[in-house]
Amino acid sequence: MESAIQMLYGKFKMARYLSHAALIVGSALACVSDAAGNSWQTISGKYFAVSYQSQTVPLPLNRIHSWQTTIKTVDDGRPVEGAVVKIYGGMPAHRHGLPTQPRTTEVGNGRYLIRGLKFSMMGDWEVWLDVTYGSLSEKLVFKLSL
């Protein structure tokens, strides 16, 4: 019985992901990173502007690493404290998700550390940030190429 439930659950989650993807296209500008990943990359949505830099440069292939990120408001550039940030992503061309399940910890003053990122293949990747602050919620996507 467990298997059928898992399959159904999988379909439900897939639908949720597709809706995420639609939101991203609608709400945020994508940003293509340089392959080295050694400079800050910024992406702005409707409410939030997110910047990231990999703590390991150049962006490592097939190795678990962390990103420093800062989240600011688009309106007045204030750091966003206490946001809930979830990380998703994958390789759209290969129809698979991230090989890891990264976790975010807040460092303070609008800075967040994303631990547990890994890009297991060469090619085009997307990292989706699902930022929720109070009643505001937005999905932003970083595009990068390894």
Partner: protein
């Protein structure tokens, strides 16, 4: 190193391609990293003991099966059959194990996260070695040579002759009777047995770490290329093989997953392989499995990661020697169905021509069949296949196959590690 080879005379390679070839070259293989989960991983005494345990047929409930029954040294440490045959038939194909110590995950579905915890599973699998924890602990205790070697490496053994404290046939991984015996043991004694059992795995792992991949014709080609020894490159690989290599790192995109000097990214991918021995999932309720003798579909990594997270022998567990910071692969492992459902570990391609049948279910007998699968990319029956059809010509498929045959190489280890120990 020169990157502009034969630029004036039509080199087959661009600078970027040469940089990529260098990454695939055995010379780029870093020294085997230490295993923080196993403090005995590089202990010579542990490897000595592990070598003996690997070949010892007494390490099975019927006294006829050892690790080497399926991981045969004369057969590149695999067995040449569709699915491993020991006491019964295993669920999946037997993988080759040279260079396996570099991997963060083990088994086709990555259900263990260390080499030593991998070695424990077949010992207790009813279709492989079929034993149980107290059986193996007592085997070490009752053999004077093993007992001495064990105690030298891991410390004193408890009095395992006490069959009230340590009953025969006790394990939490067995049938109801075995589980009951295990539950009746004291918590301290259960831990003692688990400690001995995990040390058996750690000794076997110390041995398996000696089995490293050797230099292939492909590696000699790249080395000559990097050193601008053009005549040597021409003598090492034929035009057909070079054309296959070009496809491998280019149009056929094999290198996206079969990447690095071991030709694997040690990750999990769904390439749409269906095991004909299992049911197709379809949309039938799972209750159907109760009315058939065919096993349920193979969900691969989706189940594997869940088992790894639950295992008492994982990186974070009591029997691991690692600190929490060493366990990032386990802590951050993806478990979502998008990354795991129907996904299996990317195998190394070193010696690939010698290690068929192929895929987790051993469904392809030849490289030709494997390449045909990639060329047509049929849909997956479990999850979604990540492949898109390559649409290569017959000639291109032959070139790719010719290249794959240049990856043959002997295992790079002292000859004593290939043989059954003499004493």
């Amino acid at each position: 190193m020169p990157f502009s080879l034969r630029a004036d005379s039509g080199s087959p390679w661009t600078g970027a391609e040469i940089a990529l070839l260098r990454l695939q070259w055995i010379g780029s293989l870093e020294k085997l990293p230490t295993d923080p989960t196993n403090r005995y991983a590089d202990d010579p005494q542990a490897a000595w003991l592990g070598h003996r345990l690997f070949f010892d047929r007494r390490f099975s409930i019927n006294g006829r099966i050892s690790c080497a029954t399926c991981h045969q040294p004369d057969n590149n440490f695999t067995d040449g059959v569709i699915k491993g045959r020991a006491i019964g038939e295993a669920r999946r194909n037997t993988p080759a194990i040279s260079g396996i110590a570099y991997s963060p995950w083990f088994f086709w579905d990555g259900r263990t996260d260390s080499l030593w915890s991998q070695a424990l599973e077949p010992l207790e699998s009813p279709v492989e070695q079929g034993g149980n924890r107290t059986f193996y602990a007592r085997l070490i205790y009752s053999d004077p040579v093993y007992k001495k070697s064990y105690e030298l490496t891991f410390g004193a053994l408890p009095d395992l002759s006490d069959r009230i404290r340590f009953p025969d046939g006790a394990t939490p991984a067995g049938n109801i009777a075995q589980k009951k015996k295990w539950d009746l043991m004291s918590a301290k004694d259960r831990r003692e047995v688990n400690r001995i059992f995990s040390n058996i795995g750690k000794a076997i792992a110390a041995y398996e770490r000696k089995l490293l991949p050797g230099t292939s014709r492909f590696d000699r080609y790249v080395e000559a290329l990097l050193n601008n020894r053009i005549e040597e490159t021409d003598a090492t690989m034929t035009h057909k093989e070079v054309a296959g290599l070009k496809l491998f790192i280019g149009k056929a995109m094999c290198v996206t997953c079969h990447q690095g000097p071991l030709f694997t990214n040690n990750s999990f991918h769904n390439i749409g392989i269906t095991d004909p021995a299992t049911l197709k999932p379809g949309y039938l309720p799972a209750i159907i499995y109760l009315f058939t003798d065919r096993p349920e579909p193979d969900y691969g990594r989706y189940r594997g990661i869940r088992r790894a997270l639950k295992s008492e022998f994982n990186c974070l567990g009591e029997y691991s020697d690692a600190q929490e910071g060493d366990c990032v692969e386990l802590i951050y492992a993806g478990r979502h169905h998008r990354a795991t459902l129907g996904a299996f570990k990317v195998p190394s391609l070193r010696n690939v021509a010698q290690t068929g049948p192929y895929m987790h279910a051993g469904v392809f007998a030849s490289l030709e069949e494997v390449l045909k699968h990639y060329n047509t990319a049929p849909p997956a029956s479990v999850g979604r296949s990540e492949l898109a059809p390559l649409n290569l010509s017959e000639q291109e498929l032959e070139q790719l196959e010719a290249f794959l045959r240049t990856l043959d190489s002997p295992v790079n280890a002292e000859t004593r590690w290939f043989k059954r120990p003499s004493s």
